[in-house]
Subunit: 173 residues, 2 copies
């Protein structure tokens, strides 16, 4: 999933990270639209399995600071033991530069590590316009692991970032 | 998907390549079991969307020679324009070495190219025990495009093979 994220060094930011609820959906659509990621009405289908419990290994988290201001969605890779994929992470543009993206990503990593998962992958575009996104993942300790040429469309590669998960002492975000 | 395939140079082999039907399922389970790929009762779930029409972009083909003796399953990669993934290809061990795997794979490539698709990916294990499978894809013109370390489990990489699709003159298999 192609995403945009905040780039600044983590500053002290308030709010809590918690699972997404039905009530969050309109605000999360606004976050999706503001980032221009994909048509936000796709969110209903993407969340359907999570809300129904049919996709019980789909995890959706939000950063709530007077309302949902960021979203992360991650799920296991099929046919693997302990490998996960961060399918979406996005922060409200008005709340970027406050470390919310980094905090949300660290939260995901620690939640996965705590349950014994091994690897988190993130996939994004190789286009120049996604340089900030790729820099964000690198800043968060992700290595460029692979590149599939011409993946998304002619001329647009997919870049796969990867991080080995380890349990660390909880940080104060 | 991890697969096993025949390795011999394509020999003249009889039979037809056609879409999978409900009646093929027991024979295809036998092919899956004989190759030790995954529990063959998973096939029912894998085929459910294809048979119901809900997954109308899932394609399942069999090589029929007095009954189904091989199977191929391919589907589009989400969020791409023209990139597909060969999720399964397997040949009855008693019918391997007759060029059936190569013929089935060529058929898939030509069917995709004919509808204007661009890229076919195949993913398999990096373990030494899958050397024959990787050699099969290389023989069929696939390049090793990427490797995700420790993907399937600790110590087992995923290798991604890739081929750019082009329409070619039909061959007699």
């Amino acid at each position: 999933m192609i995403v945009d994220t905040d780039q600044a060094r983590p500053a002290r930011q308030s709010g809590t990270i918690r699972p997404v609820t039905h009530e969050d959906v309109p605000a999360l659509k606004t976050v999706i639209d503001a980032n221009g990621l994909f048509p936000s009405d796709m969110l209903d289908d993407m969340l359907a399995g999570y809300f129904s419990g049919d996709a019980s290994d789909d995890f959706w988290l939000t950063s709530d600071d007077g309302g949902p201001v960021a979203v992360a969605y991650y799920a296991p890779e099929r046919m693997t033991q302990g490998t996960w994929n961060l399918l979406l992470i996005a922060v409200d543009p008005d709340r970027q530069g406050q470390g919310r993206g980094s905090a949300l990503l660290c939260h995901v990593e620690q939640a996965l590590a705590a349950r014994g998962e091994r690897v988190l992958l993130v996939e994004t575009s190789g286009l120049p316009s996604f340089a900030r996104t790729r820099a964000f993942y690198q800043k968060c300790g992700y290595e460029e692991e692979a590149r599939i040429r011409e993946y998304y469309q002619a001329g647009e590669d997919k870049v796969v970032f990867r991080k080995l998960l380890t349990v660390s002492i909880s940080e104060n975000y």
